[in-house]
């Protein structure tokens, strides 16, 4: 099996990125990290044994396996974008309600000081 320079560099960079993520995410996100690790490892393995994936793509009527991955990833990302915006909007409303509740308890009427002369 020939390993091309790009493949080597790509794997090294990916390993570095995963190591950085492991340091940043911390123990509470270990499952998330392992999930990422197995996803990337599985994708790497799939790239070495492509025949079954070509058969799957042909079965589904998609040109190439990578096209299928692109379609799925595009749908997931767009959906995540809209859901993320909706979640942010909901969070902003909660913060606003909390800040306004605090403000409304301290409305001050400004009464001018009388002239003491």
């Amino acid at each position: 099996m020939e390993i091309k320079p790009f493949t080597f560099v790509f794997v090294v960079l990916l390993a570095a990125l995963l190591s950085l993520d492991a340091m940043m995410l911390g123990a509470h996100a270990r499952k998330a990290w392992w999930t990422m690790f197995f996803l990337f490892t599985g994708a790497g393995a799939a790239s070495l044994y492509t025949a079954p994936f070509f058969e799957l793509a042909e079965l589904l009527g998609v040109g190439r396996p990578v096209d299928l991955v692109l379609y799925i990833v595009t749908v997931v990302l767009i959906r995540e974008l809209f859901l993320s915006r909706a979640r942010t909007a909901a969070l902003e409303r909660q913060i606003t309600d909390l800040a306004r509740k605090d403000a409304l308890t301290s409305v001050v009427e400004i009464v001018p000081e009388s002239d003491s002369r």
């Binding site: 809209f82 915006r85 909706a86 909007a89 902003e92 409303r93 913060i95 606003t96 800040a99 306004r100 605090d102 403000a103 409304l104 301290s106 409305v107 001050v108 009427e109 400004i110 001018p112 000081e113 009388s114 002239d115």
Partner: protein, 253 residues
Amino acid sequence: MKDRMNQIAAIIIPCYNEMARLPRLIERLELELVSLLNDTGFDHVSGFKLIIVDDGSAESVSRVRLRTEPDPRIRLFVVTHPINLGQGAAIETGVRIGLADPKTVYFITMDGDGQHDVADLRQFLGQMASSGADIVFGNRFGKGVALEVPMTRKLLLYAALIFERFVTGLALNDAHNGYRVFNRSFAEVLRLRQNRMAHATEIKLIVKRHRARYAEVPVSIAYTEETLRKGQSNLGAVRILHDLIKVFLFSGN
């Protein structure tokens, strides 16, 4: 005839870091309001409540004052957001304070940087009374402006106007003018969810949703070099378009 003796108007002034200009605005407002209230031809309200909404400014606005011997028909209130939320959120806070007083029949919003002409208040309230509208919008393009609006900003505002008309169906000529007046009926259905500049479009969507009657009056905008710098940059005008899309998708109005 309505009992004018028990009707007041709330003037809501959202402020963010405006202490350099706010005292002068309050001074001009107070003079204009006293003039209105002393005018025998002015019978829309018998008093005014100025509501300064400090939107998390670095410098507190609690130093603002009315004159040492103020007119008892004009009262000044300050409410402070603990963090900066945006002009839309500040207006919503001011409206809720106004609604808490059953005597409040009109709600006026104006910017805290003094660019809105206080003399336009008379025609705003006159238009409300004569047209029976629920809300009257200010239109800066109906009169001359003190300084020319830069062409690029004009084009972007025009694009925002076209998009707003498409979304709201309202035939208005100024996409983003903070000078407006509405009655209590409209204030009671106004629930602004857009904290920042997109609230201006959200108000129009609420008008459409509730089939509120609306009108428009020409107003003067006194741009200065300072307010032009502080005001929306061209990038900010592009942001208005972005916010319009956000309102369209996520406002629920």
